[in-house]
């Protein structure tokens, strides 16, 4: 009997790797250039968000939820407000619902343009990266005009939105949509539907068959690219979306065949760009006048929420998939009993790790980029400090001292003393 010696190499991709935007570790077992097994390890970006959330009141969690992610910050805000509103039975005025739709779709446009660039960079096509991120600047300008900031625009509050869309914003949005329709979208379609490099790299690579997508509960464009027609805005009949006419987009409408590979996922994203622009136009037409908030001030909302009891679930379709938040009330206190969220990258990562077995190594970074990983959202549960005992614990004072010394080497005129000065923060009990 012959013993075959197998030269299998285990290489880690991540946590620090030029192909990944955020840290995660994939341990890949290779046989030459063919992949045999993929193992996922997360937790490099753990910030302790849920643990902090157990100690903050309802309005503070609104800001905390927003800062979990940079590109889908509005989605987290929105889903959390939905969950609290369902729990307490608060009704939101209609104009606020339309404004939420408009801002949500603007965020979807900017996130999809970002992802098109990232996939282009991962296949070595830098021109696509630079040009699509240049096109994205227009949307960011509009978001800055409405919200005041390019990311983390705190538009939502419990029971409505904070800022209104005025006529000048409306004109600017319609101009932007015209610019995109005439100049940007034809070029995007030419690159992502017809270009030979893109087709050679993305076709028949990283295939997630429909059966695995259903079994692993893949979400968002990852699932729709494999033919699973689900979309949380459509299934939930969320807000005013049914009045605007929404349905899940699959590659069948663009290319006619569904294979579940990376090309199909990019086609779904291009299709969603078209759909978002139509939704914004219809929402701007149908928007009624009226109030935008259910409670004029946040304190009144807190008082009302103190008396609430029960639990609520909010679901929304973030640019990456289905986002779900859960809130349970503690009657008589401003701090909720439990808050938990799950974002769409988590099941998508495991689905793509299962689908990568049998592919080539060159496809791994492109496959990971094509599911649009947003790992800031994934790693968020409770650890603050973990090393006790054997290793030397670097307290904050040590780190600060080291950093001040380095600054002093560079510029001796800066004087500072490494002492923490502070008591409790704003009266919140720890």
């Amino acid at each position: 009997m012959e013993n075959r010696v197998e030269y299998w190499v285990k290489i880690p991709i991540g946590p620090i790797h030029p192909a990944l935007e955020e840290p995660e570790k994939f341990i890949i077992t290779l046989d030459g250039e063919r992949i045999v097994n993929v193992d996922v390890k997360l937790g490099y970006n753990l910030r302790g968000v849920e643990w902090i959330g157990m100690r903050r009141n309802y309005i503070q969690i609104l800001y905390l939820a927003e800062r979990m992610c940079g590109i889908c910050s509005f989605s987290h805000n929105y889903t959390y407000s939905r969950a609290v509103e369902e729990m307490a039975g608060i009704e939101v005025p209609e104009r606020a619902e339309y404004i939420r739709v408009i801002i949500g779709e603007l965020e979807r446009i900017h996130s999809h343009l970002l992802n098109l660039g990232v996939v282009g960079h991962a296949i070595g096509y830098d021109t696509v990266l630079h040009l699509s991120w240049l096109a994205r600047e227009r949307v960011m300008d509009i978001l800055e005009a409405i919200g005041g900031n390019r990311v983390n625009y705190a538009m939502n509050t419990i029971g409505g939105v904070r800022r209104d869309i005025e006529d000048k914003h409306k004109r600017a949005i319609l101009e932007m949509i015209k610019y995109y329709r005439e100049e940007v979208m034809p070029k995007v379609e030419e690159v992502f539907l017809y270009d030979p490099t893109v087709e050679a790299r993305l076709r028949d690579a990283g295939v997630i068959p429909k059966r695995i997508a259903i079994e692993y509960s893949a979400q968002g464009p990852t699932a729709r690219g494999s033919g699973v027609e689900k979309d949380a805005r459509y299934n939930e009949q969320l807000g005013v979306y049914p009045d605007l006419g929404i349905k899940p987009i699959t590659p069948k409408e663009f290319t006619g065949i569904i294979k579940g590979d990376m090309f199909d996922r990019m086609v779904v994203r291009v299709g969603e760009l078209w759909q978002s622009m139509e939704l914004i136009e219809r929402a701007l037409d149908q928007m009624p006048e009226g109030k935008i908030k259910a409670f004029p001030k946040d304190n009144i909302a807190l008082v009302r929420l103190k008396k609430a009891e029960g639990e609520g679930i909010g679901r929304y379709e973030a640019p990456r998939g289905e986002l779900i938040h859960y809130v349970m009330a503690n009657p008589g206190s401003e701090i909720p009993e439990r808050w938990k969220m799950r974002e769409p990258t988590f099941p998508n990562l495991f689905a793509v790790a299962r689908a990568l077995v049998g592919e080539q190594l060159a496809d791994v970074p492109v496959a990971i980029a094509s599911i649009d990983p947003c790992l800031s959202c994934t790693d968020r549960v409770a650890v603050i400090d973990a090393k006790t005992g054997k290793k030397k614990v670097l307290t904050e004072k040590d780190l600060l001292k080291a950093s001040i010394e380095k600054t002093r080497e560079i510029n001796p005129n800066i004087k500072a003393k490494p002492e923490p000065v502070g008591g409790t923060c704003g009266g919140v009990r720890l």
Binding site: G124, L131, L134, T197, Q360, D363
Partner: protein
């Protein structure tokens, strides 16, 4: 030629070519940036990079063996030796009968030394990059050698003093034979040579061994400091030498003949004109190609070489051969 003249000439050529090729890299980055609607780095940026790399410390991994430090020096030495055989607007310095074989050998040697350096660095990323480089090396030399030997054989039939030498391009030109079959065959070989040049420099479709987003710089993953500076310099010299070959085969006309200069003045003027032609060929083959294409997978690139470029090369060679047989018989 005595030894002193030879050595001085080689040192002068080496300094000139390294300066010019680093300037070309800066110009290329600027042009590609403008094509992508960015501003891009200043034109002297690669010279600053080189000086900065030389002044940093080189980190040697624990698992590397002795060859790790020898490899950059060997690569640079091979590049300097290659310069002695490149046609630079005038005959190469050490031109003899059949020196085209030494030229091709040195080109392959530089790539081989890179692979050996990568394998001895002990990192799995470098191992994968080295595998890709070897496959590309084996695939890209075949069409080029076929075309080069066919052209040199055709030219040697016209009666040159050093057959199969790279200096023959300055005595007779492949275009001046003039029969339609030869012109068409040469044109086909021109396309083959442009693609070969792109894959020798590793840009665009063929940016596979040093794919920065896939294997974190591939063969150069563990090199830093002085060693990386030497490798980069040898790559730049190899780039210039390969482009010089393409220019010498297809556009070897000089201008000093028209202006009637002789001696040192003619040599310098020919050199400058040759540099200009090299820049233009590199612009087409490197900058434009890099800006309009992405990277292929290794199986697709190898398939392209053996399935498309090699047959094209065959067709070009066959056309030239049929033409010769027709004339003689």
């Amino acid at each position: 030629m005595n030894i002193a003249y030879l050595t001085l000439g080689l040192i002068a050529i080496y300094l000139y070519v390294s300066f010019v090729s680093l300037i070309w890299e800066g110009v290329d980055r600027k042009l590609v940036a403008r094509m992508q609607r960015r501003i891009g780095p200043p034109v002297l940026q690669p010279i600053y990079d080189f000086l900065k790399l030389v002044s940093k410390e080189s980190i040697i991994p624990r698992d590397a063996n002795k060859f790790f430090e020898i490899a950059p020096v060997l690569a640079l030495a091979s590049s300097i030796a290659l310069l002695a055989y490149t046609p630079l607007g005038f005959e190469p310095l050490l031109a003899t009968k059949g020196d085209v074989i030494v030229f091709i050998y040195l080109l392959a040697l530089i790539a081989f030394v890179r692979v050996m350096g990568a394998v001895s660095s002990g990192s799995p990323y470098a191992q994968i990059g080295a595998q890709r480089e070897i496959i590309m090396l084996a695939s890209r030399e075949v069409p080029m050698m076929l075309g080069l030997f066919a052209i040199l054989w055709r030219l040697s039939k016209l009666g040159v003093e050093k057959p199969f030498s790279l200096g023959t391009f300055y005595q007779y030109n492949i275009w001046e034979i003039g029969t339609p079959l030869t012109v068409f065959g040469t044109f086909v070989l021109f396309i083959v040579f442009l693609l070969w040049l792109a894959s020798e420099i590793e840009v665009g479709y063929f940016n596979i061994p040093e794919a920065e987003t896939e294997v974190a710089e591939g063969p150069m993953a563990e090199y830093s400091g002085r060693h990386l500076a030497l490798f980069k310099l040898s790559s730049a010299l190899k780039e210039f030498a390969s482009a010089s070959l393409v220019v010498a085969i297809f556009f070897p006309w000089g201008i000093s003949g028209y202006l009637g200069l002789t001696g040192i003045g003619a040599v310098v003027l020919d050199l400058l004109f040759h540099t200009l032609k090299v820049f233009i060929v590199l612009f087409v083959s490197m900058s434009v190609f890099r800006a309009i294409t992405g990277r292929l997978r290794i199986t697709q690139a190898v398939g392209m070489f053996w399935g498309r470029i090699l047959p094209m090369s065959f067709i070009g060679v066959l056309l030239i051969v049929i033409d010769v047989l027709g004339v003689i018989a």
